[in-house]
């Protein structure tokens, strides 16, 4: 028996199987004692079921980073390069903003230490740190009273001897130590240093948190795989996107069960929207180029792309007369007009005015929406547009255009054709917009999963145990030493993590390029690289030398499958038992009569055409005209987007 617990800002979701059915328990989170809700959930479920495996998605790391409430970190690097972490890539994120404010670096100057040492790119040691130098360093760090230490020396991945010597000295201080060649033995000193520093920044908090919980706990990583708690405590930088990763894994699992191999996920929340592309044949694809709060985090993370627009995004006009939706958001305070305090229209207000959201309220009626108030304020904000409805429909169209660009970025721009994917939509606002988006991208089907509110916990429940290892080798792809590099990396990995399937891959590029493509390693890896380059960028050049920059090994222990048997297909129905009202909805410039359904009264086999609105506790689905919906055996809403 296993359970998965995903701790979010407001709710802690707990899912498990009992009697052949997925059970969901929702508890309020306990931010002052983040482990409280988890212990309570384990107790409540465990007493009833005899739980022996607890899996956990946590925001402890995420929040410490976002709120800048991590440890006081000492950062140690090669003398002369102490400022690397602050200089970054010497570029500004906003090209035309003369008043741009840079966030303070994670480690301020007095806590950045240099050590006289040097390793060359071929791994030869040019200067070894002597005992006196190491002692000086240790005393200087001790005097600065840090809570954690990060060590990242130049070319430590090519030869870790100097870094190990520094670590041996600093271990005497008895502080959590993050060593760059252990966290991320890859080249590019800023990216490696940043990843190592973030790890140190999070480690005291994460270690303290996990120490208070069962040591047998499994923790979700940003890569989409789970890992034992002691490893998560040692490498918290791998858990920063624990929750969103769970959502993506859950989405893929649900889509696969419903018969889809290729999925675009669309998770639209209040202030931002996450999209991801998943292809069963490729497994969970990760990226090592993530930025979190503008800082590189170069460990593998699921490739989730975020746009700064959501239900709370504000809509207005710029001085040139163009409509503008986002990136400013009404946030929780004052919130949209319809919540009673805001005065500027948001996407949520637009959906209410168009009849797509029920005025009687969100969250099962727990939050009533004020339609009259919304109309009043929107009337003032509608600018040159003839009616409030025209304005509201425009707001939805413009925000959809932003979402469409995001989906294009992860599909068409990467060489994928969205028409071959299903659009799986979740998050409170996602299913309101999904059908229009699918139309814009010629995606034929939309899937609104059951349990959209606990998808992340479900993903954690079904995910595999995964460990990733990598090393920079910088050699030609036909270098005869490469197989040895792989076997030595595998040997090292197996010391750390027993059992499991082994997947080898390599980051490859044409000699002289600056970016790599990750390709499965095998006898035809070079040809695979050419093909991938052609797919992504439209051409390949088989006369050029191909280099392998990094090698990667992923160990996966498959989780036991927890499939509930498909429910038998029930009688075809029309959903009449779930109809609750008729309501006017505005689309394509006119008011139309739509049927409103209550989702939990729908039955497998029910089918009906749009326009319709399907309400459930935490989300609303809008089914436009010419779309048709059917309820699949797992209670997902499957929508045909006919044009």
């Amino acid at each position: 028996m296993r359970i998965a617990i995903d701790t979010g800002g407001t709710f802690t979701d707990c899912v498990y199987y009992a009697e052949g059915h997925l059970q969901v328990l929702k508890l309020p989170s306990t931010p002052s004692d983040p482990g409280g809700a988890l212990r309570q959930a384990v107790q409540q479920v465990g007493n009833a079921t005899g739980t022996n495996e607890v899996r956990h998605g946590t925001t402890v790391g995420t929040n410490a980073l976002l709120e800048r409430k991590g440890a006081r970190v000492a950062f140690v690097t090669t003398a002369g390069f102490e400022d690397t972490l602050a200089i970054g890539r010497q570029a500004r994120p906003e090209l035309y903003n003369l008043l741009y404010q840079a966030p303070p670096p994670l480690v301020p100057a007095p806590l950045r230490f240099g050590v006289a040492e040097r390793t060359a790119s071929d791994g030869s040691i040019l200067l070894q740190p002597d005992a006196a130098e190491l002692e000086r360093l240790r005393k200087a760090i001790a005097a600065a009273k840090p809570e954690a230490i990060a060590v990242s020396l130049l070319f430590s991945f090519a030869n870790p001897a100097n870094e190990l010597a520094v670590a041996d000295e600093l271990v005497k201080l008895g502080l959590p130590l993050s060593i760059s060649h252990q966290i991320l033995p890859e080249f590019r000193e800023y990216e490696r240093g940043s990843t190592t520093a973030i790890n140190a920044y999070l480690s005291p908090k994460m270690q303290g948190y996990l120490a208070g919980l069962d040591p047998g706990l499994l923790v979700m990583q940003s890569s989409g795989g789970i890992v034992e708690a002691p490893i998560a405590a040692r490498e918290p930088v791998r858990t920063i996107l624990s929750g969103p990763a769970g959502g993506v894994v859950g989405a893929l699992a649900i889509a696969k069960r419903a018969g889809y191999d290729r999925v675009l996920t669309f998770d639209m929340g209040g202030t931002s929207t996450d999209v991801a592309l998943l292809d069963t044949a490729r497994g969970l694809t990760t990226t090592t180029e993530s930025l979190v709060m503008n800082m590189p985090v170069a460990v593998p993370m699921l490739n989730i792309y975020t746009v700064g627009a959501g239900g709370g995004s504000l809509a207005d006009f710029d001085r040139g007369g163009a409509m503008r939706v986002g990136p400013e958001s009404a946030g929780a305070d004052p919130g949209p007009i319809c919540y009673g305090r805001g005065t500027k229209p948001t996407v949520t207000d637009a959906n209410l005015l168009l009849g797509r959201l029920d005025a009687s309220g969100l969250l099962g009626g727990g939050l009533a929406l004020d339609r009259q108030r919304t109309h009043l304020f929107t009337e003032e904000a509608k600018g040159s547009l003839p009616t409030v409805e025209a304005f509201a429909e425009g707001v939805v169209q413009v925000v959809n255009a932003h979402m469409e660009q995001a989906l294009r970025k992860i599909s068409i721009e990467q060489g994928f054709d969205p028409r071959e994917f299903v659009l799986l939509s979740f998050g409170g606002a996602g299913p309101l917009h999904a059908c229009a988006l699918a139309r814009a991208l010629n995606i034929p089907k939309v899937l609104v999963p059951t349990l959209p509110g606990a998808l992340s916990a479900y993903g954690i429940l079904v995910s595999d145990t995964v460990r990733d290892y990598s090393r920079t080798v910088m050699s030609k792809a036909d270098d005869s030493a490469l197989p040895q590099h792989f076997s030595s990396l595998i040997r090292e990995a197996k010391k750390d993590f027993s059992g499991g399937e082994i997947q080898c891959s390599a980051d490859m590029r044409y000699r002289g390029q600056g970016y790599e493509l990750t390709v499965a390693w095998g006898h035809n890896a070079v040809e695979q690289f050419h093909l991938e380059h052609e797919r992504r960028y439209g051409y390949a050049d088989r006369t050029r030398i191909v280099d392998v920059v990094n090698i990667r090994v992923r160990l996966t222990r498959r989780s036991e499958l927890l499939e509930q048997p498909p429910r038998p297909k029930e009688e075809a129905g029309n959903g009449a038992q779930a109809m609750t009202a008729l309501r006017s909805v505005y689309e394509e410039g006119q008011w139309r009569q739509a049927t409103v359904y209550q989702r939990d009264l729908l039955r497998t086999g029910d089918a009906f055409p749009g326009p319709a609105v399907i309400d459930e506790y935490s989300a609303t689905t809008f089914l436009p005209s010419r779309c048709s919906l059917s309820v699949d055996p797992w209670m997902n809403l499957e929508i045909d987007v006919n044009e």
Partner: protein
Amino acid sequence: MSSPIELAIFKSAFHSIAEEMGAALRRTAFSPNIKERRDYSSAIFDAAGQVIAMGDDMPVHLGSMPMSVRAALNRLTLVPDDVAMLNDPYEGGTHLPDITLVMPVFAGSSSALFFVANRAHHADIGGMYPGSMGLCREIFQEGIRIPPVKLVSNGVMNDDIVRLLLSNVRTSAEREGDLTAQLGACRIGEERVRSLVNKYGRERVSANATALLDHSEQLLRAEIAEWPAGNVTAEDFLDNDGLSEEPIRIAVTLAVDPIARTLRVDFTGSALQIATGLNAVSAITYSALFYVLRCLLPREAAPTAGLMRPVELILPERSIVNAAAPAAVAGGNVETSQRIVDTLLLAFSQLLPDRIPAASSGTMSNLTIGGIDARSGQPFAYYETIAGGMGARPDADGIDGIHTHMTNSLNTPVEALEYAYPFRVRRYSYRRGSGGAGRQRGGDGLVREIELLCPAQVTLLSDRRIRPPYGLAGGLPGACGRNLLNGEAVPGKCNLQVEAGATIRIETPGGGGWGHEQ
């Protein structure tokens, strides 16, 4: 024809195409200048060659890209699947290392409906110095000059032209790779614009392109309407031309008419064109002005050609801001462009004192190193620009060690550099205390120190080594930059033949301070 809603939708669609072209170029390019430093731009143009969307790339290319398209159209008749190539600063280019490709989008129409173009800074384009960024006396010494020619004709690569080009540059395999990357990016752009036309129809896409131009115009006019009326003047100087000690003057007069909502920008009084390659062609000056205006607009403003409609630009003939052939121009793009921005901002600080920062480092501190890599026996050409301190702002300190104004190129990671070149980097750090004092402090510059592991030719092209970045409102200037070879000072602009084991150290200027120090 267009509505506020359509405008927003098409702005987003065009912009993301330009961004995608840039991403494809960056990820497949070979020159460190393109892949690591992002010294490239991508843009989309309407049938008349007016820019309607640009990626968020390199400000120095902003205003100059349209001239490339116009030059290509003047010289060539482009048919479907043609791609034009050019780099001639006197015919649509900026300086020779910047190669621009232009591709028409017909989408089944009998004439081109749109054009896509990209420009990239290649690591070498031939000429006297490896890296092609040294100071020359005339453009013929700076490298190979390419007027608009068809690189691709009806979908077929013109191999003769490619061979001619590759025979004239030092690192030809890299050049070929970069051209292929640029072509790939153009084709992606062409395909995306074509599918946009197929989706929405020719009339609707063209109408919205026109509306985007009008929209930018409206944004700038609304901005000018809030400025005070009147004339202001400002001047600033480049240290020298690299031969003499004579400072080089850049002068500007702004005339604002908030009622008519127009702006006149007159560079009369600027120095005549000079003997070395710090001359800026008019495209550069146009870009610098475009950049400054764009900074004064809200962040969502699209940089289309419409932005410049309310502006009258007056450039004296054969001057430092409007050079004529055959003046050398390699440094106009990287150094003079920064000084033109400094001068424009100094003028604007009199109109809008609360919005304008003190001078930033005002130089890109260009460092070029070339030679034969003893490890491989192959020639190499390394080029990098080194950031400096940002000028203090009325409400905040300047940022330390960051690229400002006309460039935003990344540094090359030390670990990438040492794999690729026979160098050992000795230091890369802030240059503490170099920012100008003031109520708000100017940002500190950087120190980059490189040991050469084999004999090499080193070219320095840097400014603000004699005349520091100005402070504003009582703030003090930032510290001047310094260049050192084996610990000895060398000039801001020079070419050095150095031995293995030599160390070159660049200390970049700090930004100016803002306000009296309390």
